[in-house]
């Protein structure tokens, strides 16, 4: 039980923002890489 008290796991909503950030960065990177590929080809 002690471990549960020290585990400051954020609420699902807060994790949702984290997940959105990671996926958003992936989409951004794919977009930037597409521009990069086209610009230098």
């Amino acid at each position: 039980m002690a471990a549960q008290h020290t585990d400051r796991t954020p609420s699902p909503d807060k994790w949702g923002l984290w997940y959105a950030l990671v996926l958003g960065v992936l989409v951004l990177l794919i977009g930037l890489f597409t521009l990069f590929t086209n610009y230098f080809s």
Partner: protein, 578 residues
């Protein structure tokens, strides 16, 4: 190698071993030895996850891959951020709540003992063999380029890390990986900077990018589409990277103990999640930068003569074969094309600076034609080396970057780059043998033991398992030779044969609560493995060519499908855990 190189190399390696031993103080029980008492902060977990995934092959092969095939290999990592999110949502909470030591322990709680034993056994088999290849892969390259004895190189590559891994377990592995990653990133940054520095006066970083881009090496995003539609045998494109790469990453981070064991060392569920999500954020840019070094090396060789084949050992082999004369002529032609390229590329650089679009287009066309000629000569040489008359290894991708390092980088930096090869190897091998030992101890020894084992005894046995797996990997390395076209792909192919099936079992366990029959899942896993092998054989024989990344979803969906069918035939063995 000069004295300075040796000092840097030996100093780095001895320093890591000493640091590992210094950080070896663990509590003498299983949780201390295998999970560092679940006490590490997310930053350390992140570096440990990255250090476990990034082997020496990553740093050797990726720049070579960019040199030969361009940067599209980076798409292989696109599925990873997606997988990190799924793992944080489903896998981490379950592992944390049940306080498991190994991922497979969860399967016994969810289904039954035989499903746990099967998946753990598949893990031991594939991870044990692939870790042996991870010892061998950099050793054969160093041995060929530096003339070192392969057996001694294997022994140093796979043997020295056993000292701190055996003594300090997961804690020593994580702390040494932290230091290793710092040295590796610093060294790779220096190497990249040096490539740009070695370009001719007046040619800068962006000029080098324009040059490699015009010659097709900056193809970061590819669709895999050709005239006949989507090419399923194309290994790296956006779709195979997002879907195939997602399943591979899900399997590697969710069901492979060498990674699960890293984030289980975190001090809380929150720290595990942050470490994994940060890994999702940094992995793609990191791989992009490593590949970028390869394209810079490619640009460098447009201004300098490149060898027609980068592995000198194989060159010596063909020079002693009946194809020696043909090879000599091909080398002369390659050098002639190189001379022409150097003249045109100077004109290209001037046109780029002056903004002379017409001359830029003309020189680009000429360079592309010359590059085609050079590529076809290299392809011919590779085919000759592969032919029975020579009987060699016609793939030099893994040799390109290190050949450049040895030929052009200054004394001291060469030693550092060779140290990086060792350190990157040690990081991933140490994590793997720690995971192999934990599965052997927890999933087999402890589980099948007739009597309870005292904590001190379990701790001592775990050390012996670590030593045993370390020695096993060295033995595998000694016997491995040339099992795939490229060593990085060989390791991945081996993983793909088992990964999809293990992932399928975990997906059923986590997301399909209605399926409660361990026997159904057990047989579904075996049938799924047969399906994967069938697809692999069909692909290899050319009947149904598909890229190896697709084997992961095929394996996972096969297990899910067979589980659904077989659950009707077998009664439930357990109520869902968690």
């Amino acid at each position: 190698m000069t004295a300075a190189d040796w000092i840097v190399l030996v100093g780095s390696l001895v320093g890591i071993i000493a640091y590992g031993l210094y950080k070896s103080r663990t509590t003498h029980n299983l949780e201390g030895y295998f999970l560092s008492n679940r006490s590490l902060p997310w930053g350390l977990v992140l570096l440990s996850i990255v250090g476990t995934q990034a082997s020496a092959i990553t740093f050797l092969s990726a720049p070579g891959q960019a040199y030969t095939d361009g940067m599209r290999f980076v798409q292989y990592y696109f599925g990873q951020p997606l997988a990190m999110v799924v793992i944080c949502v489903a896998f981490v909470p379950m592992f944390s709540r049940l306080k498991v030591y190994t991922a497979y322990e969860y399967l016994e709680k969810r289904f039954d003992g035989k499903t746990r034993t099967l998946t753990s056994l598949l893990f031991l088999l594939q991870r044990g063999l692939s870790t042996g290849i991870s010892v061998f892969a950099p050793s054969i390259i160093l041995s060929s380029l530096l003339g070192w004895n392969i057996y001694w190189t294997n022994l140093f590559m796979g043997g020295l890390l056993i000292i701190y891994t055996m003594s300090g377990g997961a804690r020593a592995v994580a702390y040494t990986q932290q230091l290793q990653m710092i040295i590796i990133f610093a060294g790779m940054f220096l190497a990249g900077w040096m490539v740009v520095h070695k370009l001719p006066a007046g040619v800068g970083f962006t000029d080098a990018l324009h040059l490699s881009g015009k010659l097709g090496k900056l193809n970061v995003i590819t669709t895999g589409l050709d005239r006949r539609g989507f090419n399923w045998s194309d290994q790296y494109n956006l779709l195979s990277g997002l879907i195939g790469g997602f399943f591979l990453a899900l399997s590697y981070f969710g069901a492979d103990q060498s990674q699960v064991g890293r984030y289980l060392t975190a001090r809380s569920e929150r720290e595990s999640r942050i470490g994994l999500l940060m890994n999702g954020l940094v992995k793609v840019p990191m791989q992009f930068l490593i590949l970028l070094i390869g394209t810079l090396v490619f640009s460098f060789y447009q201004f300098n003569q490149a060898p027609v084949f980068f592995n000198q050992t194989q060159v010596e082999k063909i020079e002693r074969s009946p194809l020696a004369d043909s090879f000599r002529m091909a080398s002369q032609n390659y050098a002639r094309i190189g001379t022409q390229k150097r003249q045109v590329v100077q004109s290209f650089a001037r046109a780029l600076h002056q903004g002379d679009e017409q001359r830029l287009a003309a020189t680009t066309d000429t360079l592309r034609q010359l590059q085609q000629g050079a590529d076809s000569l290299r392809a011919r040489v590779r085919a000759w080396i592969n032919s029975p008359q020579v009987g060699g290894d016609g793939n030099d991708t893994n040799y390109i970057f290190l050949r450049f390092v040895l030929d052009y980088l200054p004394s001291g930096l060469v030693g550092l780059l060779i140290a990086i090869i060792f350190l990157a190897s040690w990081g991933s091998i140490a994590a793997a043998i720690n995971a192999l030992a934990s599965c052997s101890m927890i999933d087999f020894h402890r589980r099948f033991s007739q009597r309870p084992i005292a904590p001190r005894r379990e701790y001592a046995l775990s050390k012996w398992y670590t030593l045993g797996w370390g020695l096993f990997c060295i033995v595998v390395a000694m016997f491995t030779y040339n099992i795939g076209n490229s060593l990085i792909e060989a390791v991945n192919i081996l993983g793909s044969l088992f990964y999809g099936v293990i992932l399928g079992v975990f997906l059923v366990a986590l997301f399909w609560k209605r399926i409660r029959s361990g026997t159904a899942v057990f047989w579904a896993a075996l049938l799924g493995e047969l399906v994967v092998l069938l697809f692999f054989i069909l692909s290899r024989t050319g009947v149904l060519p598909i890229g190896f990344l697709w084997l992961n979803p095929i394996g996972a969906f096969s297990v899910m499908g067979f589980s659904w069918i077989l659950q009707h035939a077998f009664p439930p063995t357990k109520s869902p855990a968690g």
